[in-house]
Every structure is written in C-alpha cells, then in structure tokens.
C-alpha cells in the first residue's frame, strides 16, 4: 500500500524546538527521512536534535524547490548558486545537516563549495579552520614540503 503519492504530511522538530510541516514528497529528498517514512516511523513528529531551526528551514526550502515542477533548469541553477552564498558558520551547519539528512544533491554542492573555499589555502590556515593539531615534527613537515615543493608555488 503506497502512500507516497498522497498528501501525507511529515512533521519535524529542530534542536531549538521549532516545528516544520512538509509534504512527504519534499521530506523524502532526504534519504534519512525517506528511510524513516518507509519504516513507518514518521507518523509522529520526528526530532532532529543535531539540526537547528535556521538550517532546517534552509534545507527544507532546498527540498521544496527541487520537487517543484514549475521551476526551470536555469532558475534552479541560479537558486543553487545563491543558496550557497553563506558565511562560514551557516555553511558548516548546512554541511553537517546535509550529511546527516543525506540530501544528495545538496550535500554535493556544499562539499564542492567548501572545497573551493579551502583549495588555495596554506596548511596553517587549514589547521586553523578545522581545529586540527599538527602532529608532525618541524623536521618531518619540512621534509614533506620539500618533496612537494611544486604544490606550494
């Protein structure tokens, strides 16, 4: 008995207790939510303790746009480009949400955006951005840099 074509509503609650109601067709753009719907666990409000209201609203906006059949290809491209014009904090929140909710198209775009932002940076800057502790000795690091000197031009 398929309910996927019906106007079934899925209820979601963000980490800061905001509730959202969306059509099932929108919600199942997320593989995570789709699995819950298929397993029959989506009848009550689904709590999402690792996604805040602001980010969840953005993700659901993306999902809605991608099931809207009136949107043209060009409009969608422009929407996606504008969508990713975010500050670092929001981009990070979006990355974690898209990964957790497994919204494939969105996750790929966010990954690409993050990669584009960091690709030209120096190793020290990368460590700062991602809170990484350098566990190479200065001699080891220097050796790796020399081996790959061409990448630092």
């Amino acid at each position: 008995m398929s309910s996927s074509k019906s106007n079934k509503i899925v209820k979601l609650e963000s980490s800061d207790n905001k509730t959202f109601e969306v059509e099932e067709a929108v919600a199942v753009q997320s593989e995570t939510l789709k699995n819950m719907v298929d397993d029959g666990c989506a009848n009550d409000t689904i709590p999402l303790p690792n996604v805040n209201g602001k980010i969840l609203e953005m993700v659901l906006g993306w999902c809605k746009k991608h099931v809207d059949e009136t949107v043209t290809g060009d409009e969608l491209n422009k929407y996606e480009a504008d969508f990713l014009d975010l500050d670092q904090a929001d981009l990070y929140g979006l990355l974690m949400a898209a990964n957790f909710l497994n919204v494939k198209g969105l996750l790929d775009r966010v990954l690409q955006r993050v990669a584009d932002m960091i690709k030209g940076k120096k190793p020290e800057e990368i460590r700062r951005i991602f809170n990484i502790k350098n566990d190479f000795t200065p001699e080891e690091e220097e050796e790796i840099r020399l081996e790959n000197a061409w990448a630092f031009d």
């Binding site: 996750l107 993050v114 991602f130 566990d135 840099r145 061409w150």
Partner: protein, 243 residues
C-alpha cells in the same frame, strides 16, 4: 569548525590534486589518507564523473621539441574550448648530457600518466603530469629466445588493464641476424613479446601474435579498455588484447 572524518574525506575528494599535495603536511592522518591507493583511485573516479558535467573530459597532449633549446616539451590542451590547460613543461630531467639528436617518443598516455621512450638508452619512463612523479621502468632481464641475434624494439604500447586495475606496457621485439647480409627482408616478424606490470614492477613474456607488420605510419598509440595499440616500425599497427 570540527568536522567528522567521514565528512572530511568527502571534502578532500572535491579538491584538485595540487591542493591535496599541499595539504599532505597538515597532519599525519591526512598524509596517510591522501597517499593511500584507495583514496587516490576514488579521487580519480570522482574527478572523472564530475568533470564530465563540465564538458572538460577530452584533453590533447601535445609533445614537441623546442627549436632553440632542443628540449622536449609537453602541454595539455582542452578539447572544448581549444586552449592550453597547463603550462608547457619540459620532460623530467632524467637524461643529462645526452646528445640532442636522441629521439624521445610519447608512447601513449592514459588517465594522466604519460609513457615515453627514448631511443638512446632505451629507457621507458612513466610520468604523472598532475603529481610530477616519474618512474623509470626497470629494463627487462627476460632471456631472449634467439640469444645471439640482435633484438630490436619494434613496438611499444601503454595502457590500463581495468580487470586487474594495473597499468601495463607491452614491448614487441624482433630479431636480426648479426650478419647484415642475411637480414634484408621487407617483412619482419615479431619474435618475442613482453608485458610490464606497474603493480608488480616486473616484465613477463607473452605469446607473440602471429602477425605481420606492414607499412603504416610511425608512432605508438595509447590504449582503451584492455586493448593495447602499439607499433613503431616502418609504421605498423599491432593490436593486442590484454589479459
């Protein structure tokens, strides 16, 4: 921002090769990851599948000789639009003090690996254009079937064997009797074939095809999907199925 490792790996897949090499020294975990064969393979496949969308999958490799310096140079051009993608770069400085009259041939290129061969010292070299790494292929020490004859390399081909996930080079040898009066034939046979595997870094003999090489045009070609094309003789072309 602290990002879980599985997400971080996904970000790294979207980075260009030059960034990956620069970030090797960020910390040990990234060094181990980016030098691991599985990651390298995934990164390559990911690159292929995403660049197709941007219509940049076709590249030309241009191999030429600088008139003034005599240096061999390599550039890559994109197919659409036709423009230089990377700066012209000289071949790796592997041969010092070699006569400029030496010929160097690009045997073929596959997945960004270029195979070339010089007619002086009969070296075969593999060159990764993206990472600048080079490897001089060890010379074959396989016994020759006609020991006292002169062996000439009559054809070389290079390609990727998808079945074994390995790069292979095939060399076709034919033999001349040392007495020049006995060797004037229009048609020559390939007497011994050898295949090099990058994975094992060694050569092995393979059965020679029963074929005759006729006139064609000079040059050796790269390869697709298990089929190696080689031929550098008065310009023959020999097709080999690799397995």
């Amino acid at each position: 921002m602290a990002i879980p490792e599985d997400v971080m790996v996904q970000i790294l897949l979207w980075l260009p090769v030059v960034s990956l090499f620069r970030f090797k020294c960020v910390y040990k975990s990234w060094y181990a990851l980016t030098t691991h064969q599985n990651f390298i393979q995934n990164h390559f496949c990911h690159n292929l599948s995403t660049s197709n969308n941007n219509n940049m999958s076709a590249h030309f490799l241009v191999h030429r000789r600088d008139k003034a310096t005599g240096d061999y140079l390599v550039s890559s051009l994109s197919y659409e639009p036709l423009q230089a993608l990377s700066l012209t770069q000289p071949l790796p400085p592997l041969y010092f003090g070699i006569d400029r009259k030496v010929d160097d041939f690009v045997v073929g290129s596959c997945n960004g690996l270029v195979c070339h061969y010089d007619s002086y010292d009969l070296n075969i070299v593999l060159w990764n254009l993206a990472t600048k790494e080079t490897k001089v292929v060890p010379k074959s020490t396989l016994p020759r079937s006609l020991a006292f004859f002169h062996a000439n390399t009559k054809g070389i081909g290079f390609g990727f064997d998808a079945k074994t996930n390995d790069y292979k080079i095939i060399k076709l040898l034919c033999f001349h009797h040392p007495n020049p009066n006995l060797s004037s034939f229009q048609i020559e046979f390939i007497d011994q074939s050898e295949v090099y595997s990058l994975r094992t870094n060694s050569w092995r003999k393979v059965d020679s095809p029963t074929c005759i090489i006729f006139d064609g045009f000079k040059g050796t070609r790269a390869y697709t999907n298990g089929l190696l094309l080689g031929g550098d003789y008065v310009g023959g072309r020999v097709f080999y199925r690799l397995t």
